[in-house]
Symmetry: C2
Subunit: 433 residues, 2 copies
């Protein structure tokens, strides 16, 4: 089985993930050789700043010309860990055109343009693997694509962004507000200097798109994913959640509609009961629930980011892609045969927690209840309370039964029109029940 | 890509798992075709009792001659869900000899004879897949074998038997004794009429052997696994665990030795802290922790048994094996290149909780402490308490620091020799800290 010509790997990017990939490829070369059935070695490492000191990285492998590297005829596999859309896309498609398979950790690119990349890979008989693009080291792409290939997945529900989970965990445990918790996350290195991609939910939305596509065997891009970040979650929302026996998490939720004819994908903060296993996912950890017809509920938990965990996922893919090369085959490509359409957010059905500031006088509850009824949104519980700090104002907390998002939106619209409703303090979905 | 000759599948066994496999193959035929790239159909179903009514199973497919079925030239894949060593082994090796690949849910056979089966598969260019043999629907074999193929796994720690977890959960929540909890498990269908394989740990030991072999790329059979069941766990042990902020679980633990030169595999009841994620695994659920160099801690959770979940795992393997057939290749075979030896239980290092019945007089603690010290076992905490129900007796609860199992055994041996020690009430390992 063992062949002697080594497989050559081009590494694009040598930051926290890339340097760890290079390190493990060197220190665990014998293990990789045994597991692949052929030796594997680095052919070159493309970096932007060649002068930076990189411990343990052979200087003669370093180049700034990534394009030349992916065109090299002796390169069998390209590992792309530079992120972003360009130049990653052009480098990857060039790699395919030159016969190389690709392992990528690039969630933004796969979520934006996965179908075209898969098509390019297939055209050139190459593999495209990207386990590291979703939830770091946690095996998700492979279990969904392969372990559950004989099952029907109905729902994927998870915490797929560590930064926001860290922030919400802080707010929950310390009572801190959003800004304060973000500052702590930044100071500890959990949030980047520009935290937009995390806190506005772009990162989670990219992962939701990838998971939905694989889970439902259809095409979902990041543009199909309804996205709300957590910048508007307040300490008061967290306190409300606690009163309900819940906590707030930023969730990525991919669902097959009840009639099976469409799917939805969304990212937003939501209340989940403390008894739900996702409620106890602390700090920057990730966890994903998968619900399927035959398997029932499965959960996958682990570190969702970081150099080493992401490198673990990259190297798992590297071994698979190299084995395929040795066997002269390719792994499973894109599976989008169901062609299920992605429905807009308005068709999502879930429960809601709505906080209203209302005039503190009789008849308000009846007015509010009428508005809900008129829009077909059924109320589960209402809690009414005077607010000692506001003259003549009270607050009304309504939790609904399951209703379509569009119905809830028009309900809220109508509530805003009532002169007894001074304001809608917050609206949050309730999941995981 | 689509080929038109259907892949033919022989199903051996049509009990709770087999009938569910047959049902899904029929109802989800179009999905399976799309995912495999070729139609797949049942060629025959071997059963022991042909007269039994099986809803939805075409009578013309049913046969009692399993051997003839696996020898059929048109059979591409054999699914074996009959369990036990024989005739399963002969049927599987015959299937390989006739060119078929095999998907099995047979933990006992794989744990007893996996190496020979893998060798037979490789000899005939066939696949042997058995995700369903370990923890039902939870993807574990594939993540360990493929997702973590570029990482170094150091430890696998899990609850891999649902029956015993149900029993221990009952004992923990209701204070019931072992027999009472077993009766309830039997009444609810969680325990079989003869519960030996579960409660004596044979089932978990088979799974531990399979997991250790894959995780450490070496050969581990069920005979290498130290095994203790839970029949001797008492309500008093559970109460002691609670006092320590722990609960008792039957754990399968596979570890690489600190020096990396050997591995161990064991199944036994152990106390784990309530803060450990495995502590909250309720009822008949399974969950497995995997610790590796780069990925860190991963957890996989889900239903560990049952017809549908096991069928989900079988069908995931079926799709993989069929894809390989269509591509004219095989998946990863046995990986046992490290040839790490399996050390005996005496070399396992962990912590211990020991309950002693001692004479209620001064100097006993000093005597006991001396025995521990003489055997090199360091004491972490001691709790001493009079027992109001026993004249002149007290109990002494010792929790040790980490020590080798052999050192602990000789300590206990020496303690039994002290005339102030009336008895050793219980010894339990403490894990997950």
């Amino acid at each position: 089985m063992m062949r002697t010509r080594p497989l050559k790997v081009a590494l694009l990017g040598c930051g926290v993930v890339g340097s760890e990939v290079a390190r493990i490829m060197t220190t665990h070369a014998d293990d990789l050789t045994a597991r692949i059935g052929a030796p594997v070695e680095l052919a070159g490492i493309a970096v932007r700043r060649p002068d930076r000191v990189r411990e343990g990285i052979p200087a003669e492998l370093v180049t700034t010309d990534a394009m030349e590297l992916v065109k090299r005829e002796d390169v069998d596999v390209v590992i792309e860990v530079i992120g972003g859309i360009e130049p990653a896309r052009e480098l990857i498609t060039t790699a395919f055109a030159h016969g190389a398979s690709v392992v990528s950790a690039n969630k933004a690119l796969v979520a934006a343009d996965g179908a075209a990349l898969h098509a390019a890979a297939e055209r050139h008989g190459a593999d495209l693997y990207y386990e590291a693009a979703v939830a770091g080291a946690i095996p998700l792409v492979r279990p969904l694509r392969e372990s559950l290939a004989g099952d029907k997945v109905n729902r994927v529900l998870g915490i797929v962004n560590g930064t926001t989970n860290f922030i919400l965990d802080k707010m929950d445990t310390s009572g801190a507000g959003y800004s304060e918790a973000l500052d702590e996350a930044t100071a500890l290195g959990y949030a980047e200097a520009d935290p937009t991609a995390d806190v506005e939910g772009f990162d989670a939305a990219a992962k939701a798109a990838i998971l939905a596509g694989i889970a439902f065997h259809t095409r979902v891009t990041i543009d199909d994913v309804h996205r709300e970040g957590l910048t508007e979650v307040t300490a008061s929302d967290i306190a409300s959640a606690k009163r309900m026996g819940c906590t707030v998490k930023l969730l990525a939720i991919c669902e097959r509609a009840a009639d099976g004819a469409s799917v939805t994908a969304r990212v937003h903060p939501a209340m989940i009961p403390l008894s739900h296993p996702l409620a106890s996912v602390r700090e920057a950890y990730n966890a994903v629930f998968v619900e399927s017809d035959a398997a029932g509920q499965l959960m996958f938990y682990g570190p969702g980011a970081g150099g080493s965990p992401t490198a673990s996922a990259v190297l798992g893919d590297l071994v698979a892609v190299c084995r395929n090369k040795v066997a002269g085959t390719t792994g499973p490509g894109e599976s989008a045969y169901t062609q299920l359409p992605v429905s807009p957010m308005g068709e999502v059905v879930t429960r809601y927690h709505i906080s209203l500031d209302v005039a503190d006088k009789s008849g308000v509850l009846a007015q509010v209840a009428t508005v809900f009824a008129e829009h077909g949104v059924s109320i589960d519980t209402v809690r009414q309370q005077g607010r000692p700090d506001a003259d003549g104002e009270a607050s009304l907390v309504v939790v609904t039964h399951r209703a379509a998002d569009a119905a809830l939106s028009s309900t809220v619209e109508a509530l805003r029109g009532l002169d007894t409703v001074r304001g809608v303090a917050s609206i949050m979905r309730v999941e995981g029940e």
